[in-house]
Symmetry: C2
Subunit: 218 residues, 2 copies
């Protein structure tokens, strides 16, 4: 079903308006982020994203089996040896005062896409080595734009950060552009992270996982 | 003189509004570009830019002597040998149906900054090898953001192109991000172009100039 011209224009205006609300809001306002995510999630770009991710066998399998991280016990993971993914992830979550999100089950490709990206976000932080400060978030946003083609959301976040810099904080432009280039180039050489069943990998050494994904820490 | 809080907020709103006008306009609307340039040119960022450019001897000399390209005779330049900057510049201008701009004389640093950047823009296209299509413009915008620190204008242009991609054209995100990374990395390794007295260099071989500026064509 093709979107009517009128519906398309309304959707574009809603996206622009959610974007501007985000530019005017302080960083880390999750209500605003949720509204931007909703306004970015039109059927056409989601379908393009799912098609594109399914071209890789790992992505194709993920859309067939919907692997979910499920309930994560940080205290248990923190008992693993310190070189493992699980231990490093637990430390990352505890240090940043974060709790694993309990997402609803996935009943279709769109729900799986959203739930998988949300629940693996902090694993992507750990595996890429990108921190949770603004520079690390921008690096990771650029990484997502490369790995999740056709996602309006992640490119909107980079664009939001650049527009804030233009208007409020031009002194930081060099740092932000460096962060974009770093995330972009890391993703270009990396294997796709989308669709990995991370709950099977908690006990693996982090450096071994990074090597197998061709992620070279800066 | 420090800007009052009220004046600062008005300036920020004017910049956001000029930016949005540009996002909603077709590319190449020069009236809109002029309004964005005016809204980007607050005293504080201009002063930071001039200070930063003056840290390099070439920039310092330029602000002392205001070297201007002046009147350019494209027909004369087109008679130079084909390996020269002048010949290549003339071909670039003729092919793109462009005429050198006749800028007013510069009476102070701010006027020189604006006039120099405007009248050398197409020379920067030629020297970097970046074309005048949207990809080449984005590559050159990223190059400017690196070489002209504290310029709100060039970062605003990149941001405008990204926001248009987010809302209207998500299929092109990979191309645009590649263009940003290419322009950014080229500029990182290049010598500063700001302040070069190009009219003395028309007869120089283009490859020799690029080598001396450490510009490696992609």
């Amino acid at each position: 079903m093709t979107e009517s011209l009128d519906a398309k224009q309304k959707r574009e205006e809603a996206l622009l308006s959610a974007f501007l609300e985000m530019v005017r809001s302080p960083d880390g306002d999750f209500g605003v982020i949720d509204r931007l995510a909703a306004a970015s999630a039109d059927l056409e770009s989601l379908q393009l994203m799912i098609q594109s991710l399914s071209r890789h066998p790992q992505g194709k399998l993920a859309f067939a089996t919907y692997p979910r991280v499920g309930v994560v016990d940080l205290e248990q993971l923190a008992l693993l040896p310190s070189h493992t993914l699980g231990y490093t992830y637990a430390q990352h979550m505890i240090k940043n005062n974060l709790k694993p999100l309990q997402m609803k089950p996935s009943n279709n490709d769109y729900e799986f896409l959203g739930a998988h990206i949300t629940e693996t976000h902090d694993i992507w932080h750990v595996i890429t080595g990108f921190e949770t400060n603004i520079i690390g978030e921008i690096q990771l946003e650029a990484f997502y734009v490369s790995q999740m083609r056709f996602s309006r959301f992640w490119l909107a976040l980079i664009t939001k950060n650049l527009l804030k810099t233009v208007v409020y904080d031009i002194e930081r432009s060099t740092e932000y552009m460096d962060a974009i280039a770093q995330g972009w180039l890391l993703a270009k050489h990396a294997q796709p992270l989308f669709g990995i069943d991370w709950k099977l990998l908690w006990e693996k050494p982090l450096t071994e996982l990074r090597d197998s994904l061709n992620i070279k820490i800066l």
